[in-house]
Symmetry: C2
Subunit: 339 residues, 2 copies
């Protein structure tokens, strides 16, 4: 812990120039001769000068920092989004500050206020649930805001989302194409738009193929692994159990796979499983999980790019950017077993 902060003034006096000259050198502004530039740079190097971010923010009005607010950093899919944001921020020469709300609304409002007031130039909010609860908190942000979330209502800020509905359609079509006729669905959280959209895709996918969705085949899974386990178990207990299970996210799909194996059945020989999200782990389990890929990293990059465009006032800003989802076929799905 060093305690002699070197300031602009120190450099200036050492180099025999004014603070302003040093500032210009540091910020690569024109109007400085090569000779003095070199001299100043040398002294900066020698003394190990780093600009004071707060001073800079206060005087310049910019922070060269982006903020990303997430509910918590536990879930894999969130860390993927953050990774995307970090990528773009880094290549734009900006720093990224992560802040968690721990699912706490007041904590959240506070964060937005504090961050947007001089700590960051822009804010990327990742709000998989409860978007509307924060809508007004976001309005009083003092910097541009982009939200990564699902919503079907229009919001007063740019939204980045994935095409949950279409992804679900793809998953169902895949299973039907393999000959499955009874397809179970493990639902997510009822309070998220994304989950409802996936359910809608499942239903309409069946209807389009001339099948009637059987309510008995739809079980709540809460997006968790134990939830998926329990849901799958109850599906398998049915007198006429499904030959394929579509889970609303990868985590509950993992639970479903476990339940199936636990019954002494095999994936995909006896029961096929499809997930949703394509978190890294989906490719690391056995059998590797067939899943609907949500472009998590891209959601982070796209959201951050929108933010940059907003910030610089150039480039397009899409009010509602819906990124495509994609079916990744791996080993957990196969032809329906003949009865």
């Amino acid at each position: 812990m060093r305690s002699n902060p070197v300031t602009l003034a120190d450099i200036a006096s050492q180099a025999g120039v004014s603070k302003m000259t040093v500032s210009k050198v540091v910020n690569k502004q024109p109007g400085i001769s090569e000779a003095t530039r070199q001299r100043v740079l040398r002294i900066i190097e020698e003394l190990g000068y780093t600009a004071h971010p707060s001073a800079r923010a206060l005087a310049g009005g910019r922070t060269n920092t982006l903020g990303i607010v997430v509910p918590s950093i536990g879930p894999q899919y969130i860390s993927e989004v953050v990774r995307g944001a970090d990528l773009v921020a880094y290549e734009a020469g900006l720093d990224l500050l992560i802040s968690t709300t721990q699912e706490d609304t007041s904590h959240e409002r506070q964060n937005v206020g504090r961050l947007s007031r001089g700590l960051v130039d822009g804010l990327l909010m990742v709000l998989p649930r409860s978007l509307d609860r924060y809508a007004d908190a976001l309005k009083q942000a003092e910097v541009p805001v982009v939200v990564v979330a699902s919503a079907n209502t229009t919001m007063p800020f740019p939204l980045v989302d994935a095409d949950h509905y279409h992804g679900a359609r793809l998953a169902v079509a895949h299973l039907l194409g393999l000959g499955h006729r009874r397809v179970g669905f493990i639902a997510g959280r009822r309070d998220t738009t994304a989950s409802l959209e996936r359910l809608r895709g499942y239903r309409e996918g069946l209807l389009t193929a001339g099948l009637t969705p059987d309510p008995v085949l739809i079980r709540p899974g809460e997006y968790t692994q134990p939830g998926g386990f329990a849901a799958a178990r109850s599906l398998l207990d049915l007198p006429d159990p499904p030959t394929a299970i579509f889970a609303a996210n990868d985590l509950s799909a993992f639970g479903a796979m476990e339940a199936i194996k636990d019954r002494g059945l095999r994936v995909p020989d006896d029961v096929s499983v499809v997930g949703f999200d394509d978190i890294p782990q989906a490719n690391q389990v056995h059998p590797a999980l067939t899943t609907v890929r949500q472009p998590l990293v891209e959601m982070g990059t796209a959201g951050t790019r929108q933010l940059l465009n907003l910030l610089h006032g150039v480039g397009p800003v899409t009010n509602r950017l819906v990124l495509p989802t994609e079916l990744i076929v791996r080993a957990s799905t196969g032809p329906a077993p003949r009865t």
Copy 2:
């Protein structure tokens, strides 16, 4: 996005007092009559004033913010540590800013410099690997630093660690107590002290029981799920396969469980599995994983408390705090099968 930042001066003129008075009210300093206090507070509420963090930091020399630097926010165990840090920071009325290095050294140095220079009052570094690479970067931090990492050399800053060696001893003792005599080990990354300590615990645990560690039973797993899968598979291929497997972390233990089931064997009836870490998922898989609990959240809280002590100059600061590990017995271990 609001754009009329309310400042101290605005409040002051509205209330007919000086900026200083408002500042004192905001910071709950004495020397203000109840009457004016109420008046000022009302106007603050009305106008929606929030202090400008940068201005505050610049003038006051404090930021009321702690920084936590992590290599990446993907791995579960890191998010647990962060959660612990957040808990303590929150109850101390401080904000927590998370910054990732994406495993990049230069990125890292930059972060430390920037954060410690006016953005945060203290820094908690989580460096599961490559601690020494950053040691000198940390020395030039301008704020107190506490490191959560494993190292057996002494460092110029407080260290928080878990007792990997003893945890491994517990795991081995548990398996031996169940009658297992051939215990496989899936190693972690050779470049981390923690991994080596766990290996040492495994070896000495066997030796203490009068068994000779068989090098053939030690396989690299790289701390990953596929790594654990491959390692377990090769262990099971042995002419004299182990009846129990101890994995250096939970992730590779998951892989091992999959490999065992894949062979048509059962956990724990045919092969017992023990992990290390006790990430939340360990309790969500089937069978639930017996594992050595590393007090991840506590490492975050303890580290942050040390940081606070350092910051306030009161309370004890332990130079090397080693938190105890604990065996959590769940369903993945059972008596050794009779041959």
